[in-house]
């Protein structure tokens, strides 16, 4: 019998552990770098962000006079106090009409190549005039017409405060639908998520995440398969999927691209600040994150045309709550916002 053998076993194990820690540390760091914040906020060449443009965009965003009723601003639905959304299952628009889709947050829309649940707007600039002119949302007209003595552009031009603000933000370009859209977009690009517990942990603060949140993260990337779609810094693949919600009325992305897989498919939303933006989904189907997890756990409700990446998960109760704790670790402290003074003359 070899008296050395217990020691030998021990030293072998030690050696293995040392080797593993050397190998795994860099691998771990490399593996998670795609979760780091991109170094710059993406912005188009013809509309770089400047303080003047951002300030003008902020005024427009909070100004109810952008709507036909002079009563609804962008911030009515995209309310900074409610995670830049409205806390409603689906939005309420002009004339108190209940709309068919929920209000997404505008947080981190700067990082999205396509805007809206069905991706029909190719940029923030292309999206910005949509809600103003939409009969259901703000019911405004940009120009005067036969049955309207004035449109939004005339109303803005009548106010010196706006004339000056447009001139410093977009010298020589005037007050046009283009400059309105550009200013709104410049402001929206400033609404980005702050560092949440998860970001502090990624950057090396080992204590930033609880054990439960860490287990949730492992599930998120592994057994629960969430990362197939909710990937990278903004926790979205910017893709379109039918996740098996019960909604027979909304064709989703299929209305834009007639490909079978897109029937009932919607854009993967960000999970940043997700704790602030209940209810969830394009139709506001779920009131809590627990309900969302239950949806994924059973592999979706309606199986018709459902994404092949949605499958029954068989999560235990503990695993479900770990996933919820993890999602909450993606919620940062919102940046306080001051309400802008709006021009009255």
């Amino acid at each position: 019998m070899d008296i050395n053998s217990p020691f030998k076993k021990f030293s072998q194990k030690m050696l293995l552990a040392i080797c593993l820690s050397f190998i795994s540390a860099p691998i771990l760091a490399a593996d998670l770098s795609h979760y780091l914040r991109p170094s710059e906020i993406p912005q188009p060449d013809n509309n770089r962000m400047t303080p003047e443009r951002i300030e003008l965009g902020k005024m427009l965003f909070f100004d109810p006079r952008l709507s036909g009723s002079n009563w609804i601003s962008c911030a009515t639905c995209h309310n900074p106090g409610l995670g830049w959304s409205d806390g409603l299952p689906t939005a309420i628009g002009h004339g108190q009409k209940i709309l068919r889709r929920s209000t997404p947050t505008i947080l981190n829309t700067a990082y999205q190549p396509l805007q809206l649940w069905d991706g029909r707007a190719r940029s923030l600039e292309k999206q910005a005039l949509g809600p103003i002119e939409d009969e259901g949302e703000m019911a405004q007209h940009l120009h005067k017409s036969k049955d309207r003595s004035h449109g939004l552009i005339d109303e803005l031009k009548a106010l010196k405060g706006y004339r000056d603000a447009f001139e410093v933000a977009y010298p020589g370009e005037g007050i046009t639908k283009n400059t309105i859209a550009k200013a709104l977009s410049s402001f929206e690009r400033t609404i980005v998520s702050t560092d949440a517990a998860f970001d502090r942990w990624i950057k090396g603060d080992k204590k930033a995440m609880s054990k439960s949140a860490l287990r949730g993260f492992t599930l998120f990337e592994g057994k629960a398969n969430c990362v197939k779609c909710h990937s990278n810094f903004n926790f979205t693949d910017n893709g379109f999927h039918n996740i098996g919600l019960e909604d027979a009325t909304d064709a989703g992305r299929y209305a834009i691209r007639k490909v079978k897989i897109l029937i009932g498919a919607f854009k993967t939303p960000t999970l940043r600040d997700i704790a602030l933006t209940a209810p969830y989904m394009h139709n506001g189907a779920y009131a809590t994150l627990e309900e969302v997890i239950e949806h994924y756990n059973v592999g979706g409700i309606s199986k018709e045309n459902i994404s092949p990446n949605i499958k029954e998960l068989n999560l235990t109760d503990n695993e479900k709550s770990d996933l919820v704790v993890f999602m909450k670790s993606l919620t940062g402290k919102p940046t306080p916002i001051t309400y802008p003074m709006l021009p009255v003359e």
Partner: protein
């Protein structure tokens, strides 16, 4: 007389089959990190000849769904997982826009000459 005619037709058909099988090529375009890649490099446009085939191969750990709704060619390859591939033969000259339905950032043009 009739026989000679038949012979000619068969001959012509055979040469055509032979010609296309010799001159038409198959290209492989991979779906990798949510982009179209050829020999490991990202491609936004390729030029091929009439009769050529493109094999679309998924190398990502999630599904892709390649389609085109162009006037030149309409096809929908359906969604397929990592490791699988599907082919499309382009039999007319023109321009086809090819996209992934799931990830619209994946977009390329196939110019058929």
């Amino acid at each position: 007389m009739k026989q000679k005619y038949l012979f000619n037709v068969v001959f012509i058909i055979l040469t055509m089959v032979f010609a296309t099988s010799v001159f038409s090529k198959e290209y492989e375009i991979d779906q990798n990190s949510k982009s179209f890649k050829m020999d490991g490099k990202k491609v936004e446009a390729v030029t091929i000849k009439v009769g050529d085939t493109i094999r679309f191969k998924n190398e990502d750990p999630f599904f892709h769904n390649i389609f085109s709704l162009s006037d030149l060619k309409t096809f929908d390859l359906g969604s397929f997982p990592k490791g699988q591939s599907k082919t499309v033969t382009f039999d007319k000259a023109g321009l086809a826009e090819v996209e992934c339905a799931i990830h619209p950032e994946m977009y390329m043009e196939v110019s058929v000459q």
